[in-house]
């Protein structure tokens, strides 16, 4: 077997090796049991004291959400003003300009929402102050927000009946002190010692061997790249993200970054099972997610390794696979694997340009983001999966003629309504957004925006349509990767994707937490012969079928117009 494939397999196995114990550890951390990192308790006590927080104060699900939304809205205002005025603030050695209001609107929502869609380029669009005090800060806290929201859901199912679900601030701060920060230190050090810049020196200049004058953007990148992966954020320090040799210097760092973005979403599933003492349920969820991920990854791998058929016709050799937009030290196999991970999980960092991948690869990338629950982002992946679970419970209940139940709580009209709204939200935002964009592109091509609509697309025909579809899908999924050929820094894309990201982030957090809170309050019904068991193979298959059917029905027409149509035109 070739070394590129062995590299991927080894990466996945190592990921499991880290994620499973990490999950058990997290369950203990959030249950308040003894763990080896308890030496950090004084630090946490200090943080709570300085912030005026009493963690003994219990919150119901509504208070949890209020706390979550309050602090998130605060970050929106804070970041927005720093982005606009970054040229007047200190710590800007490359003298980069302030952002336009619409770009700042987009960027700040994108980073608060853990999306990290970037309509600017890191080298020229932001100052060091912005990179560290806004963007990297938000990469930590947005990931912790997602994890804390998931822990509220854990808490709802731990006891038979509960109205008080713990303290949001405690979950939030512990996600940082016990998980994100220590792991970031490890990853940042690995990157630094493999060549990623970490210092505060500004741009450098040198004369190359052939005599060209070359400028080099640098800065404290390693710190940000560590959390951008661990927190499934994805926003790169440099424009080219993790394909940049500074962000991802070698195959080793590539493996580390791939593992870093996968371990927390995986660990959260394991943590769920241990926390609510239903390990079998967690392993079933884990199984569905893993099978789903492989079903998306294997065809991606095959379409990239086959190479571009149009280049094959020119008579050149593509022994390694498709190379446009990819890096030689990483190779097409690891780039294909990464492209699946970064889209099933909502990271959105890239180590090769997705716009240049093969049509079918684009199809799988889009589908991964549309499903958005095979592992999924930090914490929120599990919340998304929970919605599918509720729908599956409901449908199975209808099929066998019993009242639907989940973990001993009756699922009734109110919960189903919330789940249905959240399920319908994604297709609505993605398809309506793409439709409006397509309409403007075809009918108002001359609008006087920073990038005229007729110049939006970097590629003609079906691939151009895919660029717009990808942008909306990535925004809704809070993914943040892009078909970057799209001319997206203008008022239309900045505002529209900003709104889509905002709704696509907070409604899918509010919905599942509300459902969990409502269910937890209900009387516990002990398991009987008549109970629909949710930790069986049959039910897992049912959930899988629900995921596939819902997404296929919602998105097939759009996918047929974009990547599928391009694939078939390339066949002839």
């Amino acid at each position: 077997m070739n070394t590129e494939l062995i590299g991927i397999i080894a990466t996945f196995l190592l990921t499991l090796l880290i994620a499973i114990p990490l999950g058990k550890y997290l369950a203990k951390v959030f249950a308040g049991e003894k763990v080896w990192t308890d030496f950090l308790k004084p630090l946490e006590r200090g943080i709570f004291k300085l912030s005026g927080i009493n963690i003994k104060e219990q919150m119901d699900w509504k208070q949890q959400l209020k706390a979550l939304l309050t602090i998130n809205i605060l970050w929106l205002f804070y970041g927005f003003f720093v982005l606009i005025f970054q040229d007047k603030l200190p710590f800007n050695p490359d003298a980069n300009p302030g952002m336009s209001p619409d770009l700042a609107f987009n960027t700040i929502i994108s980073f608060v929402a853990n999306c990290n869609l970037q309509h600017y380029s890191g080298e020229s669009g932001v100052s060091y102050l912005t990179q560290q005090f806004v963007l990297m800060f938000l990469q930590f806290v947005s990931a912790a927000t997602g994890i804390a929201a998931a822990v509220v859901l854990f808490k709802a199912f731990r006891d038979k009946t509960a109205t008080q679900l713990g303290n949001f601030w405690e979950y939030f701060v512990k996600s940082i002190t016990r998980l994100l920060l220590p792991l970031s230190v490890v990853v940042a050090l690995i990157l630094t010692f493999n060549g990623t810049p970490a210092s505060y020196e500004g741009k450098d200049q040198f004369i190359s061997m052939q005599g060209d004058t070359v400028h080099v953007s640098r800065g404290p990148a390693a710190q940000m790249i560590a959390i951008k992966h661990l927190g499934t954020n994805g926003g790169g320090y440099f424009g080219a993200n993790s394909s940049h040799p500074f962000e991802n210097p070698s195959y080793l760092t590539n493996m580390v970054e791939m593992m870093a973005q996968t371990i927390i979403p995986l660990a959260m599933v394991i943590a769920f099972g241990y926390f609510i003492r239903r390990k079998k349920l967690a392993w079933m969820i884990f199984g569905v997610m893993t099978i789903g991920m492989f079903m998306l990854m294997i065809p991606t791998l095959s379409s990239e390794l086959d190479g571009n058929s149009a280049l094959a016709k020119m008579g050149i050799s593509q022994t390694t696979g498709a190379m446009e937009g990819k890096e030689m030290r990483i190779g097409p196999a690891a780039t294909a694997y990464w492209s699946t991970l970064t889209t099933v999980i909502s990271t959105g960092s890239v180590n090769g340009m997705h716009d240049s991948t093969m049509p079918l690869t684009g199809l799988w990338q889009l589908l991964s983001m549309m499903i958005n629950a095979f592992y999924g982002g930090c914490g929120v992946g599990l919340l998304n999966y929970f919605i599918y679970l509720i729908i599956a419970v409901f449908i199975s209940g209808l099929m066998v003629g019993r009242t639907p139940e989940f973990l001993g709580h009756k699922v009734e009209a109110r919960e189903i309504k919330i789940a249905a709204i959240i399920t319908l939200l994604s297709p609505f935002l993605i398809l309506a957004g793409t439709a409006v964009a397509s309409y403007i592109f075809t009918n108002h091509g001359d609008a006087a925006w920073a990038v005229q609509p007729k110049n939006w697309l970097n590629n003609p025909n079906f691939h151009g349509f895919s660029e717009m579809l990808y942008e909306m899908t990535s925004s809704n999924a809070n993914n943040g990767s892009g078909f970057e050929g799209l001319g997206d820094n203008n008022i239309f894309w900045n505002l529209s994707t900003g709104i889509v990201i905002f709704l696509g982030r907070f409604l899918p957090i509010i919905g599942p937490v509300a459902i969990a809170g409502l269910l937890a309050k209900k009387k516990f019904i002990p398991e009987s012969a008549g109970t629909l068991k949710t930790d069986t193979l049959t039910f897992s298959l049912m959930t899988f079928a629900v995921i596939i059917v819902l997404n296929a029905l919602s998105y097939f027409p759009a996918l047929a117009l974009g990547p599928l149509a391009e694939y078939f035109t390339m066949l002839k």
């Binding site: 943080i47 309050t70 605060l74 080298e123 020119m314 022994t319």
Partner: protein, 186 residues
């Protein structure tokens, strides 16, 4: 509600100190111990900086090995890929003309020997490496331009070939900058 607002503000300030000051500065200080002191490892020739170890450079003279096509012309003030889709007709024309250029400057080269990486733009525009095959097809040209024995050039290519990680993981590739530096130092 008011309580949450005040707690949010205070918690944000505390976390900014921890996450935006203590954490990054600690890493930056640790980075001082790394090669290049955390500012990126530099490569020098006769005491002058001629590049960064990790960043590719533009080479188009016949006596140097060439790197991959780059959208940003290897100027590391920015970084980008072409973002051209696989079926884009303009893109296919561009690739075709790159093939012609290679054929023109490497007499005797057959089309079927050209590997994809030599005619496609990298993701960052700063890719420092090419495939082994990409180096192999340039040996004859470089040897001729430098009036060297082909065997000698081949040896240098072998020395500057990056093997898979631990011999097991990932592709092998050739670092163009280091190879060219070695040629100049002969």
């Amino acid at each position: 509600m008011k309580k949450y607002i005040i707690q949010s503000i205070r918690l944000t300030l505390v976390l900014i100190v921890l996450l935006c000051i203590i954490y990054p500065i600690s890493i930056a200080l640790a980075g001082k111990l790394s090669k290049g002191n955390g500012g990126g490892e530099k490569i020098t020739k006769n005491g002058k900086t001629v590049g960064y170890a990790l960043l590719g450079q533009s080479f188009n003279k016949p006596e140097y090995f060439w790197g991959r096509p780059s959208v940003v012309s290897y100027n590391a003030a920015g970084s980008a890929g072409s973002n051209k889709g696989p079926s884009n007709p303009d893109y296919l024309k561009e690739v075709s003309s790159r093939i012609d250029t290679l054929l023109k400057y490497n007499p005797g080269l057959k089309k079927s020997e050209i590997p994809a990486d030599m005619v496609t733009a990298s993701g960052s525009g700063l890719d420092p490496n090419i495939s082994e095959q990409g180096a192999a097809i340039q040996i004859a040209r470089v040897a001729k331009a430098r009036k060297l024995d082909e065997k000698k050039v081949k040896e240098l290519v072998a020395i500057n070939t990056l093997k898979p990680l631990m011999g097991l993981f990932g592709p092998s590739s050739v670092n163009v900058l280091k190879l060219n530096l070695a040629l100049d130092n002969l």
